[in-house]
Amino acid sequence: MEINKLERYWLIAVGITLGAFTAATILAVTVFGIRLPAPVERIDPQRLDQTIFANPGVRKIADNRYEAVIVARSWAFDAGPEAGNPAVLRFPRGSQVTFYVTSKDVMHGFQIEKHTLNLELVPGQVARATANFNRPGTYHIICNHYCGAGHQVMYGVIIVE
């Protein structure tokens, strides 16, 4: 089988391009420390009261370090009574927040506007991800996974002060 010269050059160019994409993907993990969601724990969504999700809310763990435990349900993010409904979370500028989120009914999504934090909330799975809030402002938490007729009103707010 003969491969035309021009076509060979084209294939080499394609190889270089995809090699660069692969290198960028590997660099993102090794150098920039961007992590994809990975298994944390399985839980029974009907027995959340026996887990950390019994008391949703924000907890300070160190200077500028927080943990936020949030339960998604149709159609609200429950981040404890202090946060209210829709949940409003306040963090000082420069905070690093680790979110632990799960769903107690159907599939939901958890996306923070203008931040690379985007989780599928699968009932029975704990989703964990960390975000850095360096720019003051108001950012929505959006449920971006269809969860029934009220899907479009399911949101929360993060205020970075």
């Binding site: 089988m1 076509e7 084209w10 394609v14 994409f21 692969t22 159907v106 929505h140 971006n144």
Partner: protein, 572 residues
């Protein structure tokens, strides 16, 4: 040229190269194409109505939008009808035609062909019934993730569609096997090689969704099974869901590789490399489904990494296609008098709807290909996952490249089925260009909105979180919806016109496909299917072995289904 003797059994039309269909062909292929167009009719018009529902400005001026007033019903109907029923019927009808005309023999078994069609048609009727009469309960979208469970009829309709498609696949494989036995030393025509690849991909992929529906969703819907596991279901769905897009794409590639060069007035650049590209699709298009699950909590980062790499590899055959088909189009333009480096894209038959539709589809597909590479890059996905960027991407690929190519095919195949000329070439051209403009604008607006964080599949006009920028792009999307609504109406004007009102006889035309393999240099081992299936099996083991171990998670014993399903979609 290969010396091929054709079997006497072929129930041939007057001359084998004429496009005029024999009665049997007309019935079988016509039935599939008409069923596809019925499904498309219920799906296509739901698209523009979704863009209207999503636009705050549009809803302000037109608070009640007629037809499918429940937005999520429109989303479900649009996805299920367009992506599952229209495509499957169209592909099977078109591939029967390709196989019969390329191999110069009828499909193996006509009764089996009709049994397959009957199964899929009953599936279509059941699905339409459940979507129209139970809009709230059946609004589970075309991805139907549990624990949201639809009425049983929804799943039975899908089961019948897949069962029928398996029968059709078997029919095509057996036809190919018969031909191969009679021609052991010949290369099968390129188009048939591609069709065989396509149905192998389909049969492997549907195993995932068949297991999901038969063992998880249907029993849950019937109340037999009280538990489910959403993470497992999602994994099985996307095992099917990504190869599915290649099942849509490869018939379009059949047209680009084996028909478009002749339609455009040129010659394919390299047939052997086209064969290599299709074999690469066979090997690499299945073990990549996890790239839809980069944001899932239940799958490890390393498993996601393996499938990122495989996803990048599966773009290689598409890059090869761009070169090969691009060269064929340049050749066509040179034959038509193109002289300079960059005038050949303009010297195409842009006034021929069959060619213009496919070229327009390619333009959209190039944009869709690059947005797809962005989606495939695991970390970039976090910025666009589940945002309206994703529908922007697949409306450039599926709604653009694939659908416009199917429409281009329709503009010569439908007249052949009806035995009359196309109702109006002018309407067809207007349809193609409004589609190109509308879909370009749609891709731009939805893509920009996605980067602003606007989610996909949400009734954004009612969303409290919609930002002014997001609202602006949703309004632009509604404008693209108006253009695409016009285009869709023009499409059906031509379909109904050709079927019922065309009085012109069909012009004398040749079948736009090769009946023999012209190239003796392509290696015969490309048709050693055992090798490729073996490699596919190994890749599946590497890519899905770890994923399934993580998802099934046997730590707590064999009780893998652990979650109580809800009975239907939650209502306010």
């Amino acid at each position: 040229m290969a010396s091929v003797t054709y079997p006497q059994t072929f129930e041939a039309p007057a001359t084998p190269t004429t496009l005029k269909l024999a009665k049997r062909e007309q019935a079988m292929i016509g039935a599939h194409i008409i069923a596809a167009l019925v499904a498309l009719m219920f799906g296509i018009f739901m698209g523009p109505f979704q863009t209207f529902h999503r636009s705050p400005t549009f809803v302000q001026y037109f608070p009640t939008i007629p037809i499918f007033t429940f937005y999520y019903q429109a989303v479900t109907a649009h996805g299920v009808m367009n992506a599952l029923f229209f495509t499957t019927f169209f592909i099977i009808g078109f591939c029967y035609f390709v196989v019969e005309r390329s191999l110069q023999r009828p499909i193996k078994s006509t009764p089996m062909g009709w049994a397959a069609f009957a199964s899929m048609a009953v599936g279509l009727v059941m699905m339409l019934f459940v979507l129209l009469t139970m809009p709230q309960q059946s609004a589970v979208l075309y991805t139907f993730y549990p624990p949201m469970i639809a009425p049983a009829m929804f799943y039975i309709g899908l089961v019948l569609l897949v069962l029928g498609s398996w029968l059709a696949s078997a029919n095509i494989f057996l036809t190919y096997r018969d031909w191969k036995r009679e021609h052991p030393n010949d290369r099968v025509p390129l188009a048939v090689l591609a069709v065989v690849v396509n149905f192998i991909v389909w049969c492997v992929a549907t195993i995932g969704v068949a297991i999901e529906i038969v063992f998880m969703l249907l029993p849950a819907s019937l109340g037999i099974l009280k538990v489910t596991d959403p993470q497992l279901a999602r994994t099985l769905f996307w095992f099917f869901g990504h190869p599915l897009v290649y099942f849509w794409l490869l018939p379009a590639y059949v047209s680009w590789y084996t028909m478009l060069p002749r339609q455009a007035g040129g010659k394919l650049f390299s047939e052997p490399l086209a064969r290599v590209a299709f074999i690469m699709f066979l090997v690499f298009s299945v073990p990549v489904g996890v790239h839809h699950q980069f944001s899932d909590p239940g799958i490890s980062a390393s498993s996601k990494g393996i499938q990122t790499l495989l996803t990048l590899i599966v773009s290689i055959p598409s890059f090869m296609t761009a070169f090969n088909v691009g060269a064929a189009l340049e050749n066509a333009a040179r034959n038509r008098g193109a002289k300079t480096l960059f005038d050949w894209p303009f010297k195409q038959k842009w006034n021929d709807p069959v060619v213009a539709a496919q070229l327009s589809g390619m333009l959209l597909f190039i944009a869709g290909g690059f947005s797809g590479l962005i989606n495939a890059s695991a970390q970039l996905n976090a910025t666009i996952h589940n945002t309206s960027w994703v529908p922007a991407h697949f409306h450039q690929t599926l709604g653009g490249g694939v659908t416009l190519t199917y429409i281009g095919i329709l503009y010569w195949l439908l007249p052949a089925i009806r035995g009359r000329a196309l109702f109006s070439r002018k309407v067809a051209l207007a349809q193609v260009f409004t589609w190109l403009i509308g879909m370009t604008l749609f891709g731009l607006a939805m893509g920009e909105a996605g980067l602003q964080g606007v989610p996909r599949r949400a009734l954004t006009s009612q969303a409290p979180y919609l930002t002014p920028a997001g609202a602006f792009w949703m309004d632009v999307t509604a404008v693209s919806g108006v253009i695409l609504l016009i285009s869709s109406i023009l499409l059906y004007v031509n379909i109904i016109g050709t079927l019922f009102f065309s009085r012109q006889p069909m012009p004398e035309a040749e079948v736009p496909i090769e009946t023999v393999s012209g190239d003796r240099t392509s290696p015969l081992w490309l048709e050693r299917w055992g090798i490729w299936l073996g490699i596919l099996g190994i890749l599946l083991l590497i890519s899905y072995g770890p994923v399934m171990t993580e998802v099934l998670d046997f730590q707590e014993g064999w009780n893998i289904l652990r979650y109580m399903p809800t009975s239907n979609a939650p209502m306010p």
